[in-house]
Subunit: 191 residues, 2 copies
DNA sequence: AAATTAAACTAACAATCGTTAGTTTTGTTA
DNA sequence: TAACAAAACTAACGATTGTTAGTTTAATTT
């Protein structure tokens, strides 16, 4: 029983490199070198480079899906749900920075089967998000704005949080948790 | 005197492929095939694959810089400046979709020299944006929110617009021009 | 028509890619 | 200590990469 097995080490190391340079610009030899071993040795632990990518991407995608499935049915109002979702994006950004970056940048390099799985998860997530917005509009909690634009705007910002986080200290994460919901939900213009 | 010279055709074709699959996943042979010629023939018109990338990225980056330099010194208030910037992002998204996608996704594959040029342009752009925000806060036109979070949130959304645009009709661009500034500047929560 | 230029071609290069086969080393269990 | 399993190794494969050299074709100018 190991604390972290070798396969996990490989995936974590690969994610770190993928984040910096992108999936296609990182070779198996690069990953191996970072671990102090030879490329061929990686294959004692993983099946292929593609398996590394799909493990990373689907891990993060499932984290988002799981949280959404937990929040969505709760009997809280739409604003509280949106705040919970934003918090979750911040949490995942902090806890799985490299994995998240890899999902954002390299999901299109998944092979046919894994790509289909990923897109299914992603579409379901956006559909739930859309329903929360529309519920909020119906209950007069939110402005009746174009839902697609709102979804796009908020999810794009949340997905890209890892870019912001990489440059900031952990102290500022608390600031982010406090201020980002305000910016996204209430805008910046004075009334 | 040709309407479009061969080099431009190559760059436009490359941008289209880079957008779909990313710089590293597109080979010179792929670009050539799309043009109906052989890979070696490309080198009658361009110096290297890297030159294609830098032409694309710096073209877009300079478009943004030029517009910012034109808007920034105008004597209009901060909200009007922000609206003009948002409009410009939408315009560039529509006019140079593939180039913009390539800039967003592949700038980190620029070689040392071009990367430095790109980052200089990008940092200057963000600095101007920051000053406009702070001017707006000082003049009590904008809420006194964390500037870094606001910059990040708005610029991230604007940079990713090409993703949204690719899926929508040109009719909806008018909707976007009308509604996106509202969403970004005023938020979505009812007062 | 001859000469020149532009733009395509074929062929090949050295390097690197993901991956496999077979072997040796290391660490654990019987 | 002998046996076994896990995890590293060396060596090599076929494919693909960006690019160059040299040649041929097509278009333009003299």
């Amino acid at each position: 029983m190991k604390i972290t097995d070798r396969k996990s080490e490989i995936i974590v190391t690969a994610a770190k490199l993928f984040k910096k340079r992108g999936y296609n610009a990182v070779s198996m030899r690069d990953i191996a070198q970072e671990l102090g071993i030879k490329a061929a040795s990686l294959y004692n632990h993983i099946k292929s480079k593609q398996e590394i990518l799909s493990d990373i991407v689907l891990n993060v995608a499932e984290s988002f899906t799981n949280h959404m499935e937990q929040i969505y049915p709760q009997s809280i109002n739409s604003i509280q749900k949106l705040e919970a979702i934003i918090q979750n994006h911040i949490d995942i950004t902090v806890q799985k920075t490299d994995f998240l970056a890899c999902m954002n940048n390299d999901w299109m390099h998944l092979d046919e089967e894994n790509l289909a799985t990923y897109l299914k998860l992603r579409n379901a997530y956006e559909a739930s998000f859309r329903k929360i917005l529309q519920e909020g509009i119906a209950k007069n909690e939110l402005e009746n704005q174009n839902s697609e634009i709102v979804i796009f705007s908020i999810l794009t910002t949340l997905r890209a949080l890892y870019l912001w986080y990489s440059k900031k200290s952990s102290v500022e994460v608390e600031v982010l948790k406090k201020d980002l919901p305000k910016t996204l939900l209430h805008g910046i213009v004075k009334n």
